[in-house]
Symmetry: C2
C-alpha cells in the first residue's frame, strides 16, 4: 500500500478512545478525544518551513497532512480531568512504495520537530519509528474496517533496552 | 517465525495490563491480571480430547500449551471489582512455517471450543482469526522485547460489518 492511499483513507473526523499503559507503575490512562485529519497543500507555509528546517537526502514530499486533536484526559485514581488540544503537521517523503521518511512538526513522545521512518508490513499496517533525544517511539496504525482505525505505540528508552509505556487507540470515523 | 519458536518465547509468568474499548458505548475496561503460559505433553488427556472432538484435515499438532489467568477487573464508573480466573488449552497444527490452525479449549469472544486460523505477518506478529457463532475475533500478538508482549484484538459481528470491541494488552514477564 502506498502512503498516499493510507492517508487518503485517513482523511476525516475521528472519535478516539486511547489507553496508555505505564508498565513500571502499572497505571492506566484512558483518554477520549476528537481528531481531525486533513490534507494540506504542498505550498502551505508550515509545510515549506518543515521541509526547510529538516533537509533530507530524498526530496519528493507527497500529500502533506495535518492532525488536530482535542482530548479529555481522565487519569486513574484522580477525579481531575484535563482538556488538551493541539495539532501537528506531517510530510511523507517516500523512498519506495512501502517505506520512506516522515517529517513531523510536533513529536509524539517528546516535543519538537522530528523525522521518523515509516514502512508498511504485509498486513497493510503502517509502522512509524521515531528516534527522539531520550526515547524511541514505535507506532503501528491499521484499518480494522473502512471507518475504524487501530493505533498501537511502544515508547522505549533511547538505548532500546527498556520499555517505558505502551498505548492503544481505537478510532471511529464520525460520519456526517 | 515458526509457531514453535513463538510459543517457546511465550512460556513463563506474565503480568498483564489490558484495556478493552467498547466502541458503541465509548466505555473503557482496564484489567490487570497474572498469566501463566506452560507447555503440555502431546499425550496430555485434555490435548487428546481436544484433538478428538475437533477433527481437522491436518493432523500434526506441535507444542500444545496452556494459558492460565487470574484477573482483577475494574469497570469504569463502578467501584465493584471482580476477580475472574480460568485456563485454556491450545493445540497448534501448522500447515506451513507461517500459518496453520489452532485448537482452543475455551474461546476468547465466546465460550466453548473453537478452531482458529493463524499466520505470521512480516514483522513476526502472530495473527489469530477465530469464527464463533455470533462473532469473529482477530488477535495480533507480538514481542516488543524479549520480556514484553503486546496483544491487540478486534471483535466483529459475524457478518464482518460491525466492530463491537477492541482491546490491547501489555504483558511483562515476571522474572524470578
Amino acid at each position: 500500500m502506498k502512503i498516499e492511499h493510507f492517508i487518503a483513507q485517513s482523511i476525516g473526523e475521528w472519535r478516539s478512545m486511547r489507553s496508555g499503559h505505564s508498565l513500571a507503575f502499572q497505571k492506566f490512562e484512558d483518554v477520549t478525544s476528537q481528531l481531525v485529519i486533513e490534507t494540506l497543500s504542498s505550498n502551505n507555509n508550515e509545510v515549506l518551513k518543515l521541509l526547510e528546517s529538516n533537509p533530507t537526502p530524498e526530496t519528493k514530499p507527497v500529500c502533506p497532512f495535518k492532525i488536530s486533536w482535542k482530548a479529555d484526559s481522565n487519569w486513574e485514581s484522580s477525579d481531575e480531568s484535563e482538556v488538551s488540544s493541539g495539532s501537528s503537521i506531517f510530510v511523507p517523503i517516500p523512498t519506495s512504495n512501502i517505506d520512506g521518511l516522515m517529517l513531523r512538526s510536533k513529536g509524539y513522545a517528546e516535543a519538537g520537530e522530528s523525522i521518523c521512518k515509516y514502512n508498511f508490513l504485509s498486513c497493510e499496517t503502517l509502522c512509524l519509528i521515531t528516534k527522539y533525544e531520550h526515547s524511541i517511539a514505535e507506532e503501528r496504525i491499521w484499518f480494522a474496517s473502512k471507518h475504524v482505525r487501530c493505533r498501537s505505540s511502544i515508547i522505549r528508552t533511547s538505548n532500546s533496552k527498556g520499555i517505558l509505556q505502551t498505548s492503544f487507540a481505537s478510532e471511529v470515523r464520525r460520519l456526517k
